[in-house]
Every structure is written in structure tokens, then in C-alpha cells.
């Protein structure tokens, strides 16, 4: 994350209510994780104690303090997907990627996450890779879908 970009994000939100959350959200969206030195810069620029920045950054689940792989794989484990076999789907994704939810593989190819619910229950169970939905998935289709993401 280059510092001009960071400054721009900070200036856009400075002084508005909830500025810290807005800034962290924007950085997370663009950079996919929150490096510690960036958090320090944000704390300084917004004149907020670093401890408070960390508190917010660790509490809200969207924020990641570790780098993500090139492809973010999200298996929906919402109740509707759960009833339609999300567990088996998750097993298949774990087998195909060799990682568990929350982990990134050694080659930085995939980061795996679970979560609920993205509101597209009618087309579950599904996996979402880099924001693209793969609807009505079965464990057998996992390999083919993930092949597309290198």
C-alpha cells in the first residue's frame, strides 16, 4: 500500500464520525489486509492511540492482520447452505486447497474462509472466489472451479 494512497484515504474520512472504521475498511478493501506499519500510520494521522486502532482492527471480522493469498475462497456456511450440505463442500475445498479456514497456503495461492450469510440462499451451497459466486456447488465440482484460479 503506497503512502500517497493511504494519505488520500485518511483525508477522505478524517474528522467524520467513525473515521477509523471507514479508513480501515477502505484499506482492507484495497490491500486485502492491514499491515502493522499501516496501522501505526493511521493511528498517528488520526491521533488515535495505537491500542485503540488494534482493538477495532481485531474485533471486526472483516479486518485481517495477516496477508491473504492471491485468491480468496469463501465457503458460505449460513444455515441454508448448511442444510444443503455446506459441510461436505467445505471438506472438499479443504482437501483441494490443503488448508483450513483462516489459513493461507505456502504458495500464497489460496486463502480459505467461511462465513454466513451472503443472502443468496436460493443458490446454495456456494463458494465465492474473489467475489464471484459459484452457485449450487457439489464437492465433485470443487476441483474444476478452483482450477481456474492460479
Amino acid at each position: 500500500m503506497d503512502s500517497a494512497n493511504l494519505d488520500q484515504i485518511i483525508e477522505q474520512h478524517r474528522g467524520k464520525p467513525g473515521d477509523l472504521i471507514h479508513v480501515l475498511m477502505e484499506v482492507q478493501h484495497q490491500n486485502h489486509w492491514l499491515p502493522r506499519d499501516v496501522l501505526h500510520q493511521i493511528a498517528e494521522a488520526l491521533n488515535i492511540p495505537f491500542s485503540r486502532v488494534l482493538r477495532i482492527a481485531t474485533l471486526y471480522k472483516t479486518f485481517s492482520l495477516t496477508p491473504k493469498g492471491r485468491n480468496e475462497v469463501h465457503v458460505c456456511t449460513g444455515i441454508s447452505c448448511h442444510l444443503r450440505g455446506a459441510n461436505k463442500l467445505l471438506d472438499a475445498v479443504e482437501r483441494a486447497t490443503g488448508i483450513k479456514p483462516g489459513e493461507t497456503d505456502a504458495g500464497w495461492r489460496f486463502t480459505l474462509d467461511t462465513g454466513s450469510c451472503l443472502g443468496s440462499c436460493s443458490i446454495g451451497p456456494e463458494i465465492i472466489v474473489n467475489g464471484t459466486h459459484h452457485a449450487r456447488m457439489t464437492p465433485a465440482k470443487v476441483e474444476d472451479v478452483l482450477k481456474e484460479y492460479q
Binding site: 464520525p17 443472502g119 440462499c121
Partner: protein, 562 residues
């Protein structure tokens, strides 16, 4: 866009929009709701746009990309107006044929609804079983609105209720109308919105806030997103009217960060409303000022709780606080803050324009109006459903939902997600009513209705919900943080065949403590699904526990194999 300075100018603009449109000209509405989007409706919409572009300016038809139509199971959905011809599971390859037939006033028979058993066809939206049992007062406009164009909303009479409120009614009269309509909060509690408004209105202090809760974190609930993404101005109009009644000049929309389409539509709606002078300073020349800002949930369920949500808007961690001081008296920055859910706000314009008496004519004694329901789980037709309050659940699950897939029997229906409850299939004639369903132990909650078939393991469902809430607890209060963990442990053991005698008593004891001692609704109602299970499905729990005990004694007798 010109700024509107009076109600008359708004009506002039509306007349202009209507006169520029030919109501007989075919308009093809392509759904871009969450489910259709996931089924690649973008490519369908692009194909339509490309074909129409090829035909040139005299194409004789229009394409409109819209919000959710409702019948998510059969997406991508396409509706051709003015006739309301419904096409399902449309692929980009089908597009030229649809356009050709539409221009010839013909129907593409192979893409219309066919009943899975009888093969009977249904062409128009009013004939398709999924739609015909509904009363789509809120979501029905979705097929006629491009959410990015305020003119589409104005063409349907949009912001007429706001003009009526501002110029023909006092804030007190608006409040009285909403109270008289007995509009109850759609977010979960079912608390009368009018009373909440009144508390905020009468609370001391000059600065008051109104908030749209569009967090919708409940797993299996997707109706608010469908409504807000598809028709953002309806919610916004309700919010402005509410602000006028309460005397608030600053509003907040709190929504999910992970729905890019929703965010885009909200921002566009705010910008367009402001350009027209429907938002901002001196709205429609009435002297009333009101501004709205957007804030985001960044991934934690408890921030949908009203007091936690307000902490989050302030920029703090979303920890709920005790409710002996109501947020309508001391909310954001300790100022009176009136929070309602998306669907509640969306009901306001029609109450003002058509009157409380009309509204009271729909629904039951205690629950008025219609209710949006997200129908999902083991059901043939999942999607967004809107029915009058009082509709039997059987109508929703069987007539609209088409019953259970695979010829299986229903076992239970579950309302209200992780803080709701399940009732057995033999109670399926119960009406959709705040009070009736709460009595049965399955409060409507936000309106997520989950159908479970005969194969569903009810211990696992309770375990699933508790696992979800355990992960989402903010950890501020001990009964919630620790109580749920212990309950989850017991349930997990039962599902793994390690249940013990006395587990049910232990679960009931834990339920009592968390139900009484937790700070906020998350902890207090976390045990509700389990309570409903122990009320209706206790035998299943006992059987699984007994299996566990037997398994253990069997192991012990055989060898020390553990």
C-alpha cells in the same frame, strides 16, 4: 436535473416523466438480485442490452436491470411488461428469441413456468404459483424500477407521500397516522414503530437522529437486501418522513460492507434525491432540512443490535449496553436516536399516502400489513416472499414454496435464525403473526423462514446456531460469553455420540441463566432455538443422548479402546 422547490414542481416533473413514457411499449426487466447475480444474470442483462442496441433507437422495446423479483430459485428471472410475462432460468442464448417474440407480441413457451408435477403452464406473474398467493405491496415494484434511476420511482408515484407529509400534515399528524396504523418493527422485536418514534420525538434535546438498520446479519435472511437494493428510494422516503415526524435533521444508514451493489444503489439514491431537492436543505421548499450518511458493518453480527450499531456508527467497538436507558432517548452520542429496520421504513410511505385505515385492513388484529419473508432451506421454491400478516405458514411453505424437494416430508419450520425457534410440521397451520408465533416459540424475528425436511438432525441445528452465536458474541458480558460456550460443548458432545445422562437438565439450567442474565438480546435469546427444540423435539435429544451413554458403556465393556 433541476431542483424541486414545491410539491407542485414534483407533480410537474412526475407528469413529464409519465408523458415521455409509452405504457404500451414492452419493457424487459432483468433481475440482478443477489441470487440471480450469483447465477450470472449480468451476462443475460448484457445480452439484452447488446441486442437492443443493435436494433437502434426505434427498437420498440426497453431493457431494465432491476433488483430482486423474488423467485430466486428459478433465476435468472426476466419479466416482460406491460403484460407481466415471466421467463425463468434465462440464459444469454435465449435473449434473441425473447426479443423477437416480444416484438411480435408472442410468448416464448419453453421459458415460462411449468408445474413440476402437472406440467401446467403459467405465463403471467399473477398466475405463477410462487407469486399468485402473495401480496407484494413492498417488493412488487422491484420489477418496474431500475434502482439507479430515481425517475423510475417517481413514475410509480414516489415521494408523493413525502410531499403529502410535508405540506398537508404536521409532524404530529404523521406520527399519529403511523401509530394508528399500528406498524410494528420488522427487524425482530415487533415493537410498535409509532411508540418508538414518539419516545424519540418527546425526548429532551435538539439533535435527534434516525437510523435505517440494514445490517441483516441473520443467516438465512435476505429480504431487506432485496428490498433496499431493488428499491432504495422507498426506504429513503420512509426515513425522511420519519425524520420529519420526529424532528430529526440527520439520518444514518447502517449496512453491510460486503454487498457492493447495495452500497452503489444507496449512494446513487442519496445523490439523486439530493439533486432533486428531496434530501438536504429545505426539502421541496418546505423549510425542512435532512441529511443522510452511510456507515458500514465490517463483519460482526452483534452490530445489528440497536445499541451496538450506534456504538459502531460512533466509531467504537460494537458492544451493546444495558437497555434501562432506551436508545430512542440516548443513542448515538447519547442523543435521541430512532432506529428502525429497512422493511419498517419502507412501510411508511404507503401508510401516509393511503392512510392508516387502509393499512389496518391488511393483516390480523395484532399484526398489520404485509411481511417480507426469506424462504429457504429444504423447500422447492426459495426466494423472497411477501404475504399479508396472518397468512398460514402452510400457504408459504406449500402453495408458494412448492413443498419439500425430493418427495420428503417436512419436519419443522424455523423462524428468526439463531435467535429464533423451530416448530414441528404439525403446527404448520399457524398464522404468520408476531404474537401467535412468539407464543409457539418461533418468533418471526426479521423474517427468515427456514424449512427443514425429515432428515434434519434437530440437535445439530441447535448446535449450529449456538456455534454461530458463540463466534459472534462480543464477549463483554460473562453469561453470554461463557454460558454459550458451555451450552455449545454439551450440544457438540451429544452430536458426537458423547451425550450423558443429565445433559438435558444441564442445558435447561444454562438456558435459564443466559436467558436471564445476559446484557443484550443476542445472549438472552441465544438459547431460544434450543428451548423450542426441547419443547417440541425432546425425544430426539433423549434418543441421541441415550445412544451416547450406551456407546460409552459398550466401549468400556469391550476394551479400553479410547
Amino acid at each position: 436535473m433541476t431542483r424541486l422547490n414545491s410539491a407542485a414542481e414534483l407533480e410537474q416533473l412526475r407528469a413529464g416523466i409519465l408523458s415521455s413514457r409509452d405504457p404500451a411499449k414492452p419493457c424487459i426487466a432483468v433481475c440482478a438480485g443477489a441470487a440471480c447475480h450469483g447465477l450470472d444474470s449480468v451476462r443475460v442483462a448484457q445480452a439484452f442490452q447488446a441486442e437492443v442496441a443493435k436494433l437502434g433507437p426505434g427498437a420498440g422495446l426497453e431493457v431494465r436491470v432491476t433488483g430482486c423479483h423474488g423467485y430466486c430459485e428459478k433465476g435468472p428471472n426476466v419479466v416482460v411488461d406491460p403484460e407481466g410475462i415471466c421467463y425463468f432460468e434465462v440464459k444469454p442464448e435465449d435473449v434473441p428469441e425473447i426479443i423477437a417474440c416480444t416484438l411480435k407480441k408472442e410468448v416464448v413457451e419453453r421459458l415460462v413456468y411449468a408445474h413440476p408435477d402437472t406440467g401446467e403452464r403459467a405465463v403471467h406473474i399473477g398466475e405463477v404459483p410462487f407469486y399468485k398467493h402473495q401480496m407484494r405491496l413492498l417488493i412488487g415494484d422491484n420489477t418496474r424500477i431500475d434502482p439507479m434511476r430515481i425517475d423510475d420511482y417517481l413514475a410509480l408515484g414516489g415521494y408523493g407521500a413525502l410531499a403529502k407529509a410535508l405540506f398537508q400534515m404536521t409532524p404530529g399528524q404523521v406520527l399519529d397516522e403511523v401509530k394508528k396504523a399500528n406498524l410494528r418493527g420488522r427487524g425482530g422485536g415487533g415493537f410498535p414503530a409509532g411508540l418508538k418514534w414518539e419516545t424519540a420525538k418527546n425526548a429532551p434535546g435538539k439533535d435527534k437522529y434516525v437510523i435505517v438498520n440494514a445490517h441483516e446479519g441473520e443467516p438465512g435472511a435476505f429480504m431487506d437486501r432485496a428490498l433496499f437494493t431493488g428499491n432504495p428510494h422507498k426506504v429513503l422516503e420512509g426515513l425522511i418522513i420519519g425524520a420529519y415526524a420526529i424532528g430529526s435533521h440527520r439520518g444514518f444508514i447502517y449496512t453491510r460492507h460486503d454487498s457492493p451493489q447495495l452500497i452503489c444503489h444507496i449512494e446513487q439514491a442519496l445523490a439523486q434525491a439530493e439533486e432533486y431537492g428531496l434530501l438536504g436543505e429545505n426539502i421541496l421548499g418546505s423549510g425542512f432540512d435532512f441529511r443522510v450518511e452511510v456507515h458500514y458493518d465490517v463483519g460482526i453480527f452483534v452490530s445489528g443490535e440497536s445499541s451496538a450499531l450506534m456504538r459502531s456508527i460512533e466509531g467504537n467497538p460494537p458492544e451493546p449496553r444495558p437497555k434501562y436507558i432506551r436508545t430512542s432517548v440516548a443513542g448515538i452520542w447519547d442523543r435521541p436516536s430512532n432506529l428502525n429496520n429497512v422493511e419498517t421504513w419502507a412501510n411508511v410511505p404507503q401508510i401516509i399516502s393511503r392512510g392508516a385505515d387502509w393499512y389496518r385492513g391488511i393483516g390480523t388484529e395484532g399484526s398489520k400489513g404485509t411481511k417480507l419473508v426469506s424462504l429457504s432451506g429444504n423447500v422447492v421454491n426459495s426466494g423472497v416472499v411477501e404475504v399479508p400478516m396472518g397468512t398460514p405458514l402452510r400457504t408459504i411453505v406449500y402453495d408458494i414454496g412448492g413443498g419439500i424437494p425430493g418427495g420428503k416430508a417436512a419436519k419443522a419450520v424455523h423462524f428468526g435464525g439463531p435467535m429464533g425457534g423451530s416448530i414441528p410440521a404439525n403446527l404448520i397451520d399457524a398464522p404468520l403473526d408476531f404474537d401467535e408465533l412468539a407464543k409457539l416459540g418461533a418468533p418471526i424475528g426479521a423474517g427468515g423462514l427456514l424449512v427443514m425436511d425429515e432428515d434434519t438432525d434437530m440437535v445439530d441445528v441447535a448446535r449450529y446456531f449456538l456455534e454461530f452465536l458463540t463466534n459472534e458474541s462480543c464477549g463483554k458480558c460473562v453469561p453470554c460469553r461463557e454460558g454459550m460456550r458451555q451450552t455449545l460443548k454439551v450440544l457438540t458432545n451429544i452430536t458426537k455420540g458423547k451425550g450423558r445422562e443429565g445433559d438435558i437438565a444441564r442445558l435447561e439450567d444454562l438456558n435459564d441463566v443466559t436467558g436471564a442474565a445476559c446484557l443484550c438480546a443476542l445472549g438472552r435469546t441465544a438459547s431460544d432455538p434450543l428451548k423450542s427444540m426441547l419443547r417440541y423435539f425432546k425425544v430426539e435429544y433423549e434418543t441421541q443422548i441415550a445412544r451416547g451413554s450406551e456407546g460409552r458403556s459398550g466401549n468400556a465393556a469391550g476394551s479400553a479402546a479410547t
